[in-house]
Assembly symmetry: C2
Homo-oligomer: 305 residues x 2
């Protein structure tokens, strides 16, 4: 079973407007509500691929109830989210109808108190024995210690559970030092971690800092993987146009589904790139277009790097 | 007892950001959640002034639950809102920290089906015998007939209940023809109704169309009242700086509280202008600054027009 951890879940709102003009009033022509936060997105894609997946982390308030109500309808997905006193944040993506450009507004997460964090650690330890893979995803809400992911990486390793870490900044720096099996930074996150903007150099440096394997996402140029087994670059057949929301989370789902199905690295990477590209192309932010995914899967180029 | 009707209630969110820049991502530094919709705002100000007030209209979904939870804590306010299948809309006001300028995003309201509208009409008829004044406020959600306010005005008059109408466009045009006791349009709404941008001419024309009395809001120049008892203009001591959200609703609350307390017209107008100005000056959108209100009350100039 795969476990995804989302400490800062979200209710993701997408608003369609004619054109966003600051300091004026806008009628929103369409509202789409989705459960969000990176680990939740990863879990939904894994469930859509037919995997059994459990989500944990924090939710609270009316927004948290909306997240859980929507997850209850996803086949294959088990909700092990913990209730907290604070309210789950909202994110608002305002999409201009004409250009398709998106303006993002992200609420801060709820304050997590030390007792709530302690309860989470206990619950996480209870879940680990039933798990083969855990994905630790996204930002930390206020009140969670900055070394939280380092703790969660160590606990997973102590149980022999494969652990992927997908975060940024100081939580990533500390988490990497705890030796996760895989990290999936984008170029900016990798540069912040290593000081280098050169993908291969930065990826190798991230491994020296503790990551067993690194899959760096290079945007339109696909993924660069550096692992003990080898180095590959996986590139989509053509640059994708659309909404990049959730594309990185779909890539994580592709990597993990390929891992539990014991696919070789090149096949895992092809799946990750195809899913990621099919997410950019989907009409709704964060969803993936299944027909596009299946068609792309045969056309991703994977070469030794 | 005063009844306010809000067919299109809202959960009003105020987001504080450094500066809104289209097509970029923003961290929201502060989120304020308030129950909203014009009639709800009027009721909250009336309750703050010590009046017993009942709110009715529609709410639904998690957002509707949030609205009702917050109204439950208001002393003197009775919740007679009807549940509907659709979800109460959100409005998002994005305030730039530096300039104080506001960008508004308004979700559409929920679809109201004919059975829900019929249930509302029954409920409204049940409430009227216990009411001395009713305020019909704001836009109509999808599915409510455009002549809705005309019906509600006629029902109130049939029960001998004083009826104020504060809306715009075709619902205002039809509502005015049903002969409400008072309307409170702003200059744009009045121009849309009458074709005239000249305040006194337009106000007199609105009376000929059926409104017993008209209080036109002239922005920084205060209020112009034309009633069978006379004509007055009420002007604040100085132009108010701040957030105009809810200023018109505070003016309505001032007029109605003065009416039920049997104050003469000039005193009602002074109260309306002082409340409205104290709302613009308040730190939180839609709240009023009580100290500013009491100080302004003695300084509003009311003259025969």
């Amino acid at each position: 079973m795969i476990l995804t951890v989302t400490l800062n879940t979200a209710l993701d709102l997408t608003y369609r407007v004619r054109s966003l003009r600051p300091h004026t009033s806008h009628r929103v022509s369409e509202v789409v509500e989705r459960p969000g936060g990176k680990g939740v997105n990863v879990a939904r894609v894994l469930a859509a691929l037919g995997h059994e997946v459990t989500v944990t982390g924090f939710t609270g308030g009316g927004t948290g109830r909306a997240v859980r109500d929507r997850l209850a309808g996803v086949p294959g997905l088990t909700d092990a989210l913990l209730p907290v006193a604070g309210a789950t944040r909202r994110t608002v993506a305002v999409v201009d109808e004409r250009s398709g450009d998106t303006t993002q507004l992200n609420e801060p997460g709820p304050q997590i108190d030390p007792a709530e964090w302690g309860t989470f650690l206990d619950r996480y330890e209870e879940l680990l024995p039933g798990v083969s893979v855990v994905a630790l995803c996204g930002s930390l809400p206020p009140g969670v210690p900055v070394g939280a992911y380092a703790n969660l990486v160590r606990a997973a390793r102590a149980h022999g559970v494969f652990v992927l870490l997908d975060t940024s900044g100081e939580p990533l720096r500390r988490g990497v030092a705890a030796r996760p099996d895989l990290i999936k930074p984008n170029i900016d996150e990798l540069a912040e971690l290593t000081g280098s903007h050169e993908p291969l150099r930065a990826t190798q440096d991230a491994r020296r800092r503790g990551a067993h394997a690194v899959v760096a996402s290079l945007g339109a140029e696909g993924l660069l993987a550096v692992a003990p087994e080898g180095r590959w670059q996986a590139v989509p057949p053509a640059p994708a146009h659309g909404n990049p929301t959730g594309a990185g989370d779909s890539a994580v789902a592709g990597l993990l589904s390929g891992l539990v199905e014991k696919l070789p690295w090149p096949d895992r990477l092809a799946r990750a790139v195809a899913l990621s590209t099919a997410t950019v192309r989907a009409a709704t932010a964060g969803e993936f277009d299944r027909a596009a995914y299946e068609e792309l899967l045969t056309r991703v180029s994977v070469t030794a790097a």
